[in-house]
């Protein structure tokens, strides 16, 4: 037996009374797969994992844990990159993986009502027969679930034109910390009262557990083409991004890769990227055939004026997919050139792209680590990939310090410490940089309005004021935490 205490043994017994036998995991070896999410540098084996089959079972778990005072951590596919679903030893992990049914698809109303464990891409696949799709497309869309997308307000390559999760969800059913079921939003375009749905989206599992989501579907564009543009400097590529937007063009996607990223990707994928370029842009246009032709011409002229050294337009669907294949393979490709990498997620005003990329370049020397950049340039959402080797002493700590400095740089340029990955546990200390005490206090009060006992995903997303006070002093010194065990809300 591997129970940690009698109390947890009693809780597991109650959970097993409540749920079918295959819905409660409690042996350490069964809990292992749940010890981390996509941010695997943080691991903890939870007290138990439950895998309910339906909403009433979710309600039962929430009530039981509420009465027992046990924290609950909701989990979708576990692909999150900020440690939003990282367990704690005293918590129950609530997996929504088995609530995986598409309940209803209404092609005329262009909506899909789905359970939270449905994969993001599965919605678009099911809608394809109606020439519809679900627009937000996080890079993990093959695996990540819509419930997790709601928790994180996920974006993706196409959110520049089509919006984030918050713009594409119409309503949700949630279970509160006390086990109460609420419906927020509606199939109409607005609802009476406060926009509680907007507050819930991106709340990282701190306010409620999603048990059903109704999403908006969009008509599939008739055609899409992508321009690949090479530049002899990252600054020129960054400025070209601002120039496209300034020309009144909102492309369907606008991504930037720097030399380090190109060098890692090209041998791996053979996407046809220019190896002599300092940076490349991928700019996608979608719409009707005529519309795309018109936009491509405009983009080409802007890119030429911005100093592109090379311009190629995808001639057919195959070539378009090949251009994108390199971008999509960027993260795995990093795994080939470095034992580990740390993916950051700051956002900045587009006009600061060149300056910030330059500053990151100089930080490479300061921290003695390489950094590749592959990111959503169109909306100023950076994804610096800091390369390190976890087996070398202190490299992880240096990578984390490097990342923290990048995030502070983003804030100092009027940006944010996270564009789409969420705060989780990863960036909880940088929250103190972005928000002051009064705002943090409001977040704590909001949390309480939904979860009086503070049992939903505690320790994530919002740092305690005490912690920030301690950290404020530390930032003056070197940005490392003095008391890693201080309680975080």
């Amino acid at each position: 037996m591997s129970f940690r205490s009698l109390t947890s043994q009693a809780l597991v017994r109650q959970l097993r009374d409540l749920l079918p036998a295959d819905s409660v995991l409690w042996r350490t070896e069964d809990l292992r797969p749940y010890e981390c999410d996509g941010l695997s540098i943080y691991r903890k084996v939870p007290l138990a994992v439950v895998l309910p089959w339906d909403e009433p079972q979710v309600v039962g778990v929430m009530k039981l844990c509420h009465d027992a005072g046990v924290p609950v951590i909701a989990r979708g596919a576990g692909t999150g990159l900020s440690g939003g679903a990282t367990p704690r030893a005293d918590a129950v992990v609530l997996s929504l993986a088995r609530l995986n049914q598409i309940l209803h698809m209404d092609p005329l109303a262009r909506t899909a009502r789905v359970q939270p464990g449905v994969r993001n891409l599965a919605i678009s696949e099911a809608a394809a027969q109606y020439q519809l799709y679900y627009a937000p497309d996080p890079s993990s869309q093959i695996a990540c679930t819509i419930g997790g997308n709601v928790a994180e307000n996920s974006g993706g390559v196409h959110c520049l034109k089509y919006g984030l999760t918050v713009h594409n969800v119409l309503s949700a059913r949630i279970v509160t910390g006390t086990g109460e079921v609420l419906t927020v939003g509606s199939a109409a375009l607005d609802s009476p009262g406060y926009d509680v749905l907007a507050l819930l989206i991106g709340s990282e599992g701190l306010l409620g557990v999603v048990t059903e989501v109704t999403v908006r579907l969009l008509p599939r564009p008739e055609c899409a083409r992508v321009i690949l543009a090479g530049f002899d400097s990252t600054a020129k590529a960054g400025n070209a991004v601002a120039a496209i937007i300034a020309a009144g063009i909102i492309p369907a996607g606008l991504e930037l890769m720097d030399r380090a990223a190109i060098a890692a990707v090209e041998p791996f994928v053979q996407a046809g990227y220019p190896l002599d370029a300092e940076a490349l842009l991928l700019c996608e246009s979608d719409g009707t055939v005529d519309e795309v032709d018109e936009e491509i011409l405009r983009v080409e002229s802007v890119l030429s004026a911005a100093g592109a050294t090379q311009l190629r337009v995808s001639r057919d669907a195959t070539e378009r997919l090949r251009f994108w294949a390199g971008r999509k393979a960027a993260f795995p490709a990093m795994g080939r050139i470095s034992p580990d990498y740390y993916c950051m997620d700051g956002s900045i005003p587009r006009k600061c792209l060149a300056t910030v990329l330059e500053a990151i370049r100089s930080m490479e020397h300061k921290y003695g680590l390489r950094c590749a950049n592959v990111f959503h340039a169109g909306d100023g959402n950076l994804h610096p990939l800091i390369l390190f080797d976890a087996n070398r002493p202190e490299e992880l700590a240096r990578a984390e310090a490097f990342g923290a400095e990048i995030l502070q740089l983003c804030v100092s340029h009027g940006g944010s410490i996270t564009g789409e990955h969420g705060i989780g546990i990863e960036k909880i200390d940088q929250m103190c940089v972005q928000f002051g005490s009064p705002e943090l206090q409001s977040f704590h009060s909001l949390k309480k309005a939904f979860d009086e006992r503070g049992l939903l995903n505690p320790g994530k997303a919002v740092p305690s004021l005490h912690r920030c006070a301690e950290l404020g002093q530390m930032h003056v010194h070197h940005g490392q935490l003095p008391y890693p065990d201080l309680p975080r809300f």
Partner: protein, 353 residues
């Protein structure tokens, strides 16, 4: 009129001390909207002016008392616009009031609502605390999304002082078509067309005529015109402006006007009177006296809600559709987070908060 933040803060702190409630008022264009007004008027028009506008960033930040018209004029001079096309109420509506009332216009169904364009918001809460949420970047998921929560809160959670919005480039081409269709066929067309990749930017139906606005690349607008048929209207700008501003009968003449928000596929409502339909079928304006309970129960059955938009007297059943008990309790707790003493716009949204 108070023209600075510290003055407004002082007014809030004093009201809190004397337990006197405040009625936040910008241009006063929406005094008719919501439940009965209560409290001392706190004017916000003094807190005006554009703070930051960078066309290449598609972001504008302005003080909440700025006239919406002024914001739109500045955007227009850079070939940009607000995507939610809010009504300007004869040029007197303020940015703050527009956000507080979640006031969106004809483009809403195709482009998004007020809340979809809010990037950040600064406000004074019921303690006079100066709070900033969100920011000035397109993507920002740090902290709870309080800025968007404020859209439609009718000033019951705080006094907005600065608002940051995402802007959009103006479409290069625009055209409006008019087709003769009865209501069921018009509703079917609005929904079917929205499921096709057409550059729709507004639809409206009234008395057997369906109006369809197309906005986007020149090529896309021309192709859609060919595909949809109908008659092309040349002075369409005036038509959409009049609709946006409710300068068309019976929207401006009816003594009673009900705002019915439903899923776009809801069938024609079995009600007498010349209604207007907007937002691809999702917004129906119903004039004339109605049995409010019957109307609400009918619309709730369709998955929607009814607002007593304009009435000679505030209905006993409430201007806004009532909330389920659990959600109503949550609303009271949310109110308490930002305005524990219930100083702001007391009773404007719901009687007990």
């Amino acid at each position: 009129m108070i023209a600075d933040l510290s003055g407004l803060k002082g007014a809030i702190v004093r009201s809190r001390a004397s337990r006197q409630c405040l009625r936040i008022r910008g241009g006063g264009t929406k005094d008719f909207y919501g439940e009965t007004l209560q409290g001392h008027v706190l004017e916000t028009r003094g807190l005006a002016g554009i703070i930051d506008y960078e066309p290449t960033e598609l972001v504008i930040t302005a003080r909440a008392g700025t006239l919406l018209k002024d914001v739109e004029d500045v955007l227009a001079s850079h070939h940009q616009m607000l995507g939610f096309e809010p009504p300007r109420f004869n040029g007197r509506a303020t940015l703050g009031g527009t956000v507080a009332a979640a006031s969106s216009g004809p483009r809403r169904a195709y482009c998004g609502a007020v809340r979809d364009f809010i990037l950040g918001l600064r406000m004074l809460d019921g303690r006079g605390e100066d709070l900033r949420f969100g920011g000035r970047v397109m993507k920002n998921v740090a902290g709870f999304d309080v800025s968007r929560l404020m859209a439609g809160s009718l000033g019951t959670l705080g006094l907005f002082t600065e608002i940051t919005l995402k802007t959009l480039p103006r479409p290069p081409a625009e055209a409006t078509l008019r087709l003769e269709l009865d209501q069921p066929r018009a509703l079917a067309c609005m929904n079917q067309w929205a499921a096709r990749p057409l550059p729709l930017s507004a639809t409206a139906w009234h008395e057997g005529l369906l109006y369809v606005r197309l906005s986007g690349a020149d090529a896309a607008v021309r192709a859609a015109r060919r595909a949809l048929g109908g008659e092309w209207i040349s002075d369409a700008g005036t038509f959409w402006d009049d609709l946006r501003e409710h300068r068309i009968a019976p929207l401006n003449t009816a003594e009673f006007l009900w705002r019915v928000s439903v899923p776009s596929t809801a069938p024609a409502l079995p009600l007498a009177g010349p209604s207007w339909i907007e937002w691809g079928g999702a917004l129906r304006w119903v004039p004339g006296p109605q049995n409010i309970e019957a109307l609400r129960s009918l619309v709730a059955g369709l998955g929607g809600h009814v607002t007593a938009y304009r009435c000679p007297q505030k209905p006993r059943e409430g201007v806004f559709h009532s909330l389920a008990p659990g959600l109503a309790a949550l609303h009271r707790r949310l109110k308490a987070v930002f305005d524990p003493e219930q100083i702001f716009n007391r009773g404007r949204l719901y009687p007990d908060m």
